[in-house]
Amino acid sequence: MSLDLVPVWTAILAFGVFMYVLLDGFDLGVGILYPFAHGADERTLMMNSIAPIWDFNETWLVLGGVGLLAAFPLAFAIIIPAVYLPILFMLIGLIFRGVAFEFSHLAHRRGFWSGSFFVGSLVATFAQGVVLGTYVQGIPVTGRAYSGGTFDWITPFALLTGLGLIAGYGLLGACWLVMKTEGPLQEWSRRMARRFAIGVAAFVAMVSIWTPLLQPQIRERWFGGEHPFWLWPVPVITAALFVALWRSIPQRHFVPFLASLGIFFMGYVGLGISIFPMVVPYDLDLWATAASPRSQAFLMIGTLFLLPIILAYTVYSYYVFRGKVRADAGYAHTEAAVR
């Protein structure tokens, strides 16, 4: 095995995690917006817009977790214990929002499960943001294990990134609804998208200023000696995307969603620039945590074959449920035959 697969696996995992953030991002965002919509019919439409795809979107999270376990096992074995409680809250949140898709249509008392759809989405999102913040702050390592405490994740920075991700997913969710709905619900989604856009801009600014202050490595990377001007496009493009988002929200259908995806992508790129090549910041790099070349190679063979197939039927599935969502598609429709 002379070929170094670590960069390829880094790219695949980065892609998988990004797919998760985008896809579950917008459907968690719909969950966050859910209780604020005006009528029961509109809330049903919101849920129906993601009912056929939420399960698929969440599968990318499993790929991210298991992919990290398989390709960079030591990173998995250190990072996950460091965020023991946030991971617990994320999983419980995902459970309560996931079952709500069916339960809220089956229960006589829908209020509880509608509530669990919102609270579960909110808690899962916040927990993911906290995981991100804890990760960026750095994870203390001794030997081959996490050496911090249970509550190390409770820091102002991690709580800020938790709130920031709520704003971010809320924006994605609102833009998704602008794309998938029409009439009053779409108008409402446009207003929500503008509010969340302001929130996201504020959080992006705060995190961008705070992060270099946290870590010398990050400060050095962005503002270092040779002044790497090739990094300038990152903030410039991000700012341009915010302008495009802001101007497109009032009239356009697809552009706001694309612009918000772009903003997430730029944030993700920025994170990558800050951290690379560390995978357990700021102790272990990708190569130090990588699985044996035989393990990486064995999994690579199937992945290169399967990932394009997965993407093909993802596209097909989204194509089947394309267009504006109607009241007759979703779990409620399934139930209509029962009642």
Binding site: V66, F76, G302
Partner: protein, 457 residues
């Protein structure tokens, strides 16, 4: 130490409840694919009604399976990070293949299966049903391969205290995997068949949906006529394989302390692990040797042959194994009963037998859990049999209070989620056909014997 015990209890709790869902949905996905297929080729409306009916139940149980399944891989990180660090070069790719081959396939086509009937051609909808069923089976394949490797590790080398792969085919097809795969998958199908039969029995006893219910029971008993006897044979083979590779587990299952020929088959005993004997026992002389060695004079290894610190707990595998086998025998009797009433054309009228069928809905689930407890407790004290102890697999940074918080949260959440889910599934199975089949109106069916309004008896 306390974090270790709590972590083990937590893992047992989240996996035991999770396994209830695949135990049902693996078989149900295949059943729905068959119903869709029969309808696709014969256009007989009863199969469409059945498929729609079971799809509603499938949607609820599959959703619960997905969310409780997402919890599982993270357990390896949160509570078993040493296990992940030491074994993931070998087990990680197996689990990753499960995600890539199975989870995406299921999830990608589930939306089309549940909501796409009016949006895609009939052939595509049928294909989606097959894809979802194939996904559940592929998932079973990969996760049981990883699990079997923990029981009978093969194809590895140990470098710097970590397992690294040496031969992938040997890893995947490790010695216990073929037996465990066939035994478990068969158990899942049997579990689903008894659930389908029991639900049909409920309708038959009320004289509702008789046509649908008879189709369900005939399909169910037809499958069981094949699978239940087969499972007895597979179980025996799996036991012989375990005797070869994990003799201490067999000794615990049989509560057999001495290495002996003419080992009795204990029907009941009270194992005393401190005194290294059974306080009380009733057995059939030499039958144990006959089963395990296929010869009355066969010598079967006893627990005393293993060092105390290498022995599994005895009482738990002993009783859970007997529970599993006992249920298996009850299932055999029920299957024979069903075939008898079917042969006599009296399924719909056999009220007492149908009451038994309703009561036996949980049997498969209990047997699956009992079998799982037998094999996993029997693997102790090892995480990777003979090589990595469970106590060396737990996350080093974990404190008892961490796991106390998480286990309490998981217990409360799962009681609420599974309690509600079982309630909703039970209600769907009672009402799922709806008022006398509005969707059936396009098909004139003069041959239909009963309607919801008239009673069968």
């Amino acid at each position: 130490m306390e974090a270790l015990l709590l972590s083990r209890l937590q893992f047992a709790w989240v996996v035991a409840l999770h396994i209830l869902l695949p135990a049902f949905t693996v078989g149900l996905a295949a059943y729905i694919a068959v119903l869709e297929g029969v309808f696709f080729f014969t256009r007989r409306p009863v199969f469409m009604r059945l498929s729609r009916y079971w799809l509603r139940i499938f949607a609820v149980s599959f959703g619960m399976g997905v969310v409780s399944g997402i919890v599982m891989p993270f357990q390896f990180g949160t509570n078993w990070s040493r296990f992940s660090d030491i074994t993931a070069d070998v087990t990680g790719p197996l689990m990753a293949y499960e995600v890539l081959m199975a989870f995406f396939l299921e999830a990608g086509f589930l939306g089309i299966l549940l909501f796409g009937r009016e949006r895609v051609p009939a052939g595509v909808h049928f294909a989606a049903a097959i894809m979802v069923a194939a996904g559940t089976l592929l998932s079973t394949f990969w996760i049981l391969s990883a699990n079997s490797w923990m029981h009978t590790p093969a194809g590895y080398a140990i470098v710097d205290g970590r397992f690294v792969p040496a031969d992938w085919l040997a890893v995947i097809f490790n010695p216990s995997f073929p037996y465990r795969l066939v035994h478990t998958t068969t158990a899942f199908f049997i579990t689903t068949a008894f659930a389908v039969i029991g639900v049909a029995a409920h309708h038959l006893r009320r004289g509702n949906h008789v046509e649908e219910s008879l189709v369900m029971q005939k399909m169910g008993f037809g499958l069981l006529a094949l699978l239940v006897p087969l499972q007895v044979f597979i179980g025996d083979q799996h036991g012989l394989n375990t005797l070869e590779h994990q003799p201490a587990k067999i000794a615990a299952i049989e509560a057999n302390w001495e290495t002996q020929a003419r080992m009795p088959l204990l029907l009941f005993a009270w194992p005393d692990e401190d005194a290294e004997r059974n306080a009380f026992e009733i057995g059939i002389p030499a039958a144990g040797s006959l089963i395990l060695k296929h010869h009355v004079d066969g010598v079967v290894p006893g627990l005393k042959q293993f060092k105390r610190e290498d022995r599994p707990p005895v009482a738990i595998p002993f009783f859970s194994f007997r529970l599993m086998v006992g249920i298996g025998l009850a299932m055999l009797a029920l299957t024979l009963g069903g075939l008898w009433f079917w042969y006599r054309d009296g399924l719909a009228a056999a009220r007492r037998f149908q009451a038994l069928c309703v009561a036996s809905i949980p049997l498969g689930f209990v047997a699956v859990i009992a079998g799982w407890v037998t094999t996993e407790v029997g693997r102790q004290p090892w995480a990777v049999y003979g090589l990595l102890r469970t106590r060396d697999a737990v996350t080093p940074s974990l404190q008892a209070h961490d796991v106390t918080i998480s286990i309490l949260v998981y217990i409360a959440a799962y009681i609420l989620i599974f309690g509600s889910g079982i309630y909703f599934i039970a209600r769907l199975s009672r009402t799922g056909f709806g008022p006398p089949q509005p969707e059936a109106q396009p098909f004139p069916r003069s041959a239909r014997p009963m309607s919801g309004a008239t009673r069968a008896t």
